[in-house]
Structures are given as C-alpha cells and as structure tokens.
C-alpha cells in the first residue's frame, strides 16, 4: 500500500472509530431504559396506578418515537449550519448526561412525583439527542470516505445500533448476575446508567480530537453553507420529493424490518411462546453476535452492485418469511401439546395461597415443574379463584405455562431463525446510510436525511410492538396476526422502492 493510501486509511479508521463509538454509546444509553423499564417503574414510580402510569407511558412512548424526528430537525439544522463535528458532540453530551442523571434520580419514596417527572424530562432529552446523532455520524463518515467505499465505511455506523442493544443486554445480565436479583432491583439497576458516563467521557475525548468534515469545511470556506436548511430541505420541491421517496421507499420498510427482527422476535418468544427470561435474551445475544458482521458485508457489497436491491431484497424476504418463522416459534414451544406424548418427569406441586389483587377473592396457585423427553422444561400453574361470595359461580381454573426452556436442537434452530431475521436487518440497514447520504446535497444533507430516517425507524419501526399487539387484539386474530403490520409496511415500501428508486451509485458527495 502506498504511504498516502495508508494515511487516508488510518485517518478514516479514526473517523469511523470516533463516530461509531459515540453512536454505539448513544444506542446503549437509549436501550437500557427500555430493558430496565420494569425495575425503574418499581423504584421511580408509585405502585398504585394513577398519574404516574400516564407519565410512564409518555416516557416510554415519547422518547421511543415521538421526539426523535424533532431531534432530527433541530440537530440536523444545527449540523448544516455550524458543522457535523460540534453537533454530534453536543448530542453525545446530552445523551450521556441524561443517562447518567437517570441513574441518580432518587426513588419515588424519597422525592415523590418529582421522580417520574424527572425521568420523563430526561427521556425527552435522550430522544432528541438520538434524533440528532445518527445523521451526524453517518454524514461525517460518508464525507470522509473515498469514492467506491462509502457503503463499506458507513456500514460501521450501522452496526452500532445492534451492538448498542447487545452491550446494554450484556451489561444488564452481568450486573444482575454479579449482584443478585434483590440488590439489582434495589439499587444495582443504576449501575448500567452510571457507567455510561465513563464511556461517554472517552468518546467525547476522542471526538474532540477529530477535525470537521472536509466537505463541510470546504463549503464553509466558500461561504456556501445553507442559511436555512429546514426551508431548503422541505420547501424546495425538488429536494422534498426526494425526502418523501427516502421515507416511503426505503426507511419505512427498513424501520419495521429492524424492529421486527431485533425486538418483536424477543418479545414474541417471551410473551407468546412463554420462553424463559434468560433464554429469550441469550437467543437474541447469540443471533446478534453472529449477524453483526453482515452489516459490513452488505454495506461493502452495496458499493459494487448498488444500494437499492440489497435493501429491497431484505424487505421482500421479511414479507415472505416472517409468518413461517413465527409459526415455527409457536410450534417449537408448544409444550401443552408435547407433554401429551413426551412427559418425562413432573415435580411435587407447590401451592401458593393469597388474595386476588384489590379484592377479597381467594387465589390458589398450584405450580408443577415438568421435563419432556426431548429435554424441554417448563412450569405449569393451575390458578383457581374462589369468590368471596360463596353463592357466586366458581370461575374455570386457568392453566398458565411459563419459563419454557428449549431442547438443544430447538434452541439452535430458534437462534438460527432469529439470526436470519437479524441478517435481514443488516440487508436493509447496512447500505442505508450511504444511500441517504448520496441522495442529498452537502448544504442540507444532515437535515434532509435525518428526518426520513427517524420517521422510518422511530415512528414506523417504533410502533411495531404497539400496532402488532393492537392487530392481535382484533376479533378472530391469531398470535401471528400482529405480523401483518410489519409485513404490510415492508411490502408497501418494497413496491415504492422497486418502482421509484434508482439503483444508481452517486460517486460525488462533494456537491
């Protein structure tokens, strides 16, 4: 390699490292709240339902998808006005600071309603910061990347969302195992929030040493920086039509595939298939671990064959495969059916007596741990309610299955199927940063690309759990009905993308 090439490579490596590390930490910060929502709810919210339930809903709902597009507008505008480097430094400080402060908020028993209100405010800041971070990092890396390798270099940024989820799950599982469940629920949950400040500190130090994007520096030197990036992005028809195309033809489908593969899969295994808490998380961790390199593979490949068909193939495979995959999840965990022919052992019944919450009806729960011939284990509880009024009719006993663990082959197959879904995520997500960067001019790139990305990812993707649950509640629905939302959106985005998007690679992002 010639020395100049080597210098360029080193410089780009530093750019990628600085940008990716910051973005990784931002995603980590963002995810730990979601992963610890139940524990946080117990500590920072009162136990009785009331105004806190509303605040809790808002805190989880708001930062998840409402605030991110606004963050994209605010920080996108700043990024096009004052530069990429300082803007994504600011988003990092805001995200890291809010995460650290969530770890310091006194419990509800100490400061009352101030606790949930502080959580809400800090979550809003987190959402805004995340909305500004991605566009900055992707733009910064793309504007440093040499021609023909933009997909490869920006794909490193794309890995960070998945790795942030991986890191958050890992830190939480590690802290919980080291401290024990009781200490973790009491104060240990604060540790993942507090340690993030160290990571943020390191990341800020590294980013401070980086230079502004050469493309933006040139633009500034020539006095061509946009005076009003928002107006130019959304009021100028020629540019606005590309914003709409990016949203409906790419990011909308990418968002639902992303959330289905990484979040809905785990939630489905845990809530519908009743898989054990740790088992469902380990499945996701393994799947993410094996699938993450594919971000770079598809990003790099997109430099050769174009971005469009890789992204659209990911969406199409999702449309075709989601239902069979989730049907397999149901079949492979159907212990009610398996035990009819494969029951090997059953433990002595454990009986718990208590009262139905908020009533004087008696509650008797009898739990038996069972093992099947194929190696699967699960707990089966029979729940009987005895009404306080002796003359009232006795409700039918309910059978509740929980804590299912899989057989060896079932475990590997489900890891493979979640892995496959994450590979689809890498297909739609790996090339998309380069695709978006190439779609818009330097002057308004940060603003123009951030909004469709965050509407697609935050709104369409973020709504997957809510709308899937809603669809599953329709009369006549099945556990698979919720999948119609991601399938429908991905199909729509596929059609729009296939018909309207160009597969052309734009070699010049200096314009």
């Amino acid at each position: 390699m010639r020395s100049t090439d080597k210098n360029v490579t080193q410089s780009i490596t530093q750019v990628i490292a600085a940008s990716s590390l910051g973005t990784l930490i931002e995603w980590y910060d963002f995810y730990i709240f979601g992963s610890l929502a139940v524990v946080i709810g117990q500590q920072l919210f009162p136990s009785d339902a009331g105004a806190s339930a509303l605040i809790n809903t808002l805190a989880i709902f708001a930062a998840g998808f409402i605030v991110r597009p606004f963050g994209a507008l605010v920080f996108g505008r700043l990024g096009d006005l004052i530069g990429r480097k300082y803007t994504f430094l600011l988003t990092l400080v805001l995200m890291g600071g809010s995460t650290f402060l969530i770890g310091l908020i006194p419990s509800y028993s100490s400061i009352g309603y101030a606790a949930p209100i502080l959580v809400l405010i800090l979550r809003l800041v987190q959402g805004l910061a995340l909305g500004g971070e991605y566009g900055g990092a992707a733009t910064y890396v793309a504007e440093h990347a040499p021609v023909g390798k933009r997909g490869f270099f920006t794909s490193w940024i794309q890995t960070t969302a998945t790795l942030g989820l991986f890191l958050s799950l890992g830190v939480i599982v590690l802290t919980k195992n080291l401290l024990g469940a009781d200490k973790f629920a009491d104060w240990g949950w604060r540790i993942p929030f507090l340690v993030s400040i160290l990571l943020v500190g390191v990341s800020i130090y590294i980013r401070m040493k980086m230079h502004e994007s050469p493309v933006f520096t040139k633009l500034k030197a020539e006095g061509k920086v946009s005076a009003n990036p928002l107006k130019e992005s959304f009021q100028k028809k020629a540019n606005f039509k590309m914003v709409l195309l990016a949203l409906f033809g790419a990011t909308m489908g990418q968002g639902v595939v992303w959330y289905t593969g990484q979040f809905y899969a785990q939630s489905f295994l845990e809530n519908t298939c009743k898989l054990d808490f740790n088992e469902s998380r380990y499945i996701l961790l393994w799947a993410i671990l094996f699938a993450t390199p594919f971000f770079v593979i598809f990003g790099s490949w997109s430099d050769k064959v174009g971005r469009k068909w890789i992204m659209l193939t990911g969406m199409l495979l999702g449309v075709i495969c989601y239902r069979p995959i989730y049907q397999y999840f149901i079949d492979a965990t159907n212990v009610k059916e398996f035990q009819k022919t494969q029951l090997k052992t059953a433990s002595q019944p454990e009986v718990e007596r208590g009262l139905v919450k908020g009533k004087l009806d008696s509650l008797i729960t009898t739990t038996v741990s069972k093992t099947l011939e194929n190696g699967m284990t699960f707990k089966e509880s029979h729940v009987v309610i005895i009404p306080e009024d002796v003359l009232a009719p006795m409700p039918e006993p309910q059978v509740v299955i929980k804590d299912v663990t899989l057989s060896g082959s079932g475990y590997i197959m489900i890891i493979f199927l979640v892995f496959f879904q994450v590979v689809l995520v890498t297909m739609v997500y790996g090339p998309i940063a380069a695709f978006l960067v190439e779609l818009f001019p330097t002057q308004i790139r940060y603003t123009s690309m951030s909004l469709p990305y965050h509407i697609g990812n935050g709104v369409f993707g973020g709504l997957v759990p809510f709308i899937a649950t809603l669809v599953a509640s329709f009369p006549g629905s099945t556990p698979l009905s919720g999948l119609w939302y991601p399938i429908g959106i991905a199909a729509l985005s596929f059609i729009i993308g296939a018909v309207y998007i160009d597969n052309r690679l734009d070699n010049n992002v200096m314009d």
């Binding site: 339902a49 009331g50 339930a53 509303l54 809903t57 808002l58 709902f61 998808f65 409402i66 100028k236 028809k237 020629a238 540019n239 606005f240 039509k241 590309m242 709409l244 195309l245 949203l247 409906f248 818009f440 001019p441 330097t442 002057q443 509407i455 709104v459 709504l463 809510f466 809603l470 059609i495 729009i496 018909v499 309207y500 998007i501 160009d502 052309r504 734009d506 010049n508 314009d511």
Partner: protein
Amino acid sequence: MNSLKKILGVVWMILGPVIILFLFLQAADKIAHSAEGIARTNTTLQWSIIILIFIPICAGLVTFGYYAMKGEYEHLPESSSEL
C-alpha cells in the same frame, strides 16, 4: 414504467386518507372498549399521539402520490444542481 409510476401515484393519494380514517375508527373503538379510569386516559393519550403523528405522514403520502402522478419521479436528479 413511467405509466406505472403515475398510476400508483393515484393509489398513494387514496391510501393516505384511508389510513387516517382507519386510525380514527380504531381509536374510537379501542377507547370505548378500554376500562374506565387511568386505563382509558392512557389509551386516549396513546391514540391521540398516534393520530397526530400519522396525519402529517399521511399528508406526505398524498403529496408523494401527487408528485408521482404528475411525473415528478420519471427522472431522478443526478447531481445537486438538479435539486
């Protein structure tokens, strides 16, 4: 292909209002069927947010359809000078 782009443009223009109407109907149904008290307030809040968020997105879909119908996507810009 250009004819298909235009024809589909009409579909997107129709789809926008249809989605909003569907969301309003669903919101009314789900709010009416939720338990009284905080659960109903929560459901109302969630649906209000969703409808407020989706109104501009569906307006965007209609605009996209309009541009498509007018042939705006027959040629995509090849450099920033076209934007």
